[in-house]
Amino acid sequence: MTVAADRVTTSLEAAPVPREPSPLAAWFSDGWITTRRNLIKIKRVPDVLVFTTLQPIMFVLLFSYVYSGSIQIPGSDYKEFIMAGIFAQTVVFGATWSGYATAQDIRDGIIDRFRTLPMRPSAVLVGRTNGDLLINSISMVVMILTGLVVGWRVRSSLLEGLAGVVLLLAFAYALSWVMVFIGLSVRSPEVINNVSFIVLFPLTFISNAFVPSENLPTPLRIFAEWNPVSALVLAARQLFGNVPPGMQVGDTWTMQNPVQAVLIGIAVLLAVFVPLSVWRFGRIGSRA
């Protein structure tokens, strides 16, 4: 590499001077730039996208053709029952990419680059969670289409159906912030996989996602009825008009008011984990 001294001099003289945009403009610009970075990554490393679209298709097909013969839901078709569960399970797991990618960014050192630039710290994390939201939205569209092909129908109205989809994505988005916080706190990206496996597996499988909770043994039934994922699934199921008539959903407040419960859950997660993550982001360097 040979760089002529005079070229460096001219180049530095010609270097642009940073502007000082208004805080709001800076925040939107920074958020967009970091989101764009994640979009480029999704494009360049399509594994994530392939995984997040193929897996839900497999799930939809598996549950609607393999299990629907053996699992009877009185007064309903298992396909209709299961779809909200598959959607919820997929977006909940989809939220873990944020944690993994955040931990990876720290390891790669790119976070240190961001932290020496005059950008809004929260923008990096917003860009991150936006990337998840996009991946989850794509999975969602793929699952809805596959579902419709195998015979799933929204029995309520289009508007309520959309509300169900938005609720699922919003919950996953809030969960992304939890995962970002974990990603900022762990030693290596691999830890994230373990954490998400240990926490998310019981949450999604000991729930009403794949079987009605009334059929579970008592301790598991109690867990399932308090489980936030159950509230999410039930909320989506209600909005889709897919709750089998006469099904015992459970007596807990969250099961009686699932939509409210999920909305409160989203608000609480965001209110706690957005500031917590931004705070953690500011002190990455000083940890062991």
């Binding site: 590499m1 040979t2 760089v3 002529a4 001294a5 070229r7 460096v8 001099t9 180049s11 530095l12 003289e13 010609a14 270097a15 642009p16 001077v17 940073p18 502007r19 000082e20 945009p21 800076a26 610009s29 920074d30 730039i33 764009r36 970075r37 480029i40 990554k41 360049r44 490393v45 390891r107 790669d108 050192g109 790119i110 976070i111 240190d112 680059r113 961001f114 932290r115 020496t116 630039l117 005059p118 950008m119 002190r283 990455i284 360097g285 000083s286 062991a288």
Partner: protein, 330 residues
């Protein structure tokens, strides 16, 4: 008041499951504008920690630091608008091309879309990054990444450019290239704070050097001043035949202030002496009397290695074995 100044910085790390580390233990610096300042020290001396405090990556437990009168702790954002940083490990996005990396950095400095694009193109040309221009950084060599990283630090014309071990891990050719770039930047009037474990590097690039060890500045001055502190000269002999080595070492022993060093191939030996010229004359006379043939003989000022050994009681290269551990702890 110096352009960049740090006063009594203290940083303690609290690793999980390990004793606390006093990484900076009352470190002070002052760097005049337009000069290259070298922070010289072995692995673990606190170089990166100093750079991290000055570049707002971590907060010192106590002490203060200012750049152009702006306090790094009180107004980190104002500092970030003015500095360029190339850390010890290239901080580039692997999935982006060189151009995309540079453009991203430009936009995060809040340059306009066109300014940022133009600057990215300029830097790609200036740093000879053509190859990586439109291919993701992933898959390029360490030297290339370092160049992209340095280019990222020069998207704006920084008031202070921080370079943390800019040549560690580079092959000799890339290292010379990096030195050229830093020298050009210096001659263009950029204020540079660079850290290094290489004494030769500080000697060549820095106007002013602070030798640091265990989080403290243990010596301060120009390369010449530091060398003068060790005093005396070094006499060096290269023999035609390795068989004569014992006789040569014996001759050096007699005039030297310490034990002679023998270098790798067994044909060269050197020793530090108080008075250069008479000692050299004496050694040459002695070897001539014994009929020993010399390839080369000379007198040298001490190297910074000697300085380091003298100041700290241990060699500068002590920690270098750890180098590959690298990223994990950073």
């Amino acid at each position: 008041m110096a352009f960049l100044e740090a006063e009594d910085l203290r940083v303690t790390y609290h690793p999980r499951k390990a004793p606390v580390v006093k990484a900076l233990d009352g470190l002070s610096l002052d760097v005049p504008q337009g000069t290259v300042f070298g922070l010289l020290g072995p692995n673990g001396a606190g170089k990166s920690t100093t750079v991290k405090v000055l570049t707002t990556l971590i907060r010192a437990d106590s002490g203060r630091a200012r750049i152009d009168g702006i306090d790094v702790r009180e107004d980190p954002e104002e500092i970030r608008r003015r500095i360029g940083v190339a850390g010890q490990y290239a901080a580039v996005d692997e999935n982006l091309t060189a151009l995309e990396n540079l453009d991203m950095v430009g936009r995060l400095y809040h340059l306009s879309r066109t300014d940022s694009k133009r600057r990215a193109e300029e830097l790609v040309a200036l740093f000879d990054l053509g190859e990586a221009k439109s291919r993701p950084v992933k898959g390029f060599s360490g030297g290339m990444r370092r160049r992209i990283d340095l280019a990222c630090a020069l998207v704006i014309s920084p008031a202070v450019l921080f370079l943390d071990e800019p040549t560690t891990g580079l092959d000799p050719r890339s290292r010379l290239g990096m030195w050229d770039v830093i020298e050009s930047l210096a001659s263009a009037g950029t204020t540079v704070l660079l850290t290094t474990q290489y004494l030769e590097e500080a000697d060549r690039l820095a106007d002013d050097i602070a030798v640091i060890d265990r989080g403290q500045v243990i010596a301060r001055g120009t390369a010449d001043e530091l060398k003068a502190r060790v005093g005396g000269r070094r006499i060096q002999l290269t023999l035609v035949s390795a068989d004569d080595l014992p006789a040569a070492v014996a001759a050096l022993q007699r005039v030297g202030t310490g034990a002679p060093d023998v270098s790798g191939d067994g044909r060269a030996a050197s020793v530090t002496v108080a008075e250069g010229a008479p000692a050299l004359a004496e050694v040459l006379a002695e070897l001539a009397r014994q009929g020993i043939e010399l390839h080369d003989a000379g007198m040298q000022r001490p190297t910074l290695d000697d300085v380091f050994l003298r100041l700290t009681g241990h060699a500068a290269e002590d920690g270098e074995a750890d180098e590959t551990e690298g990223r994990k702890g950073s």
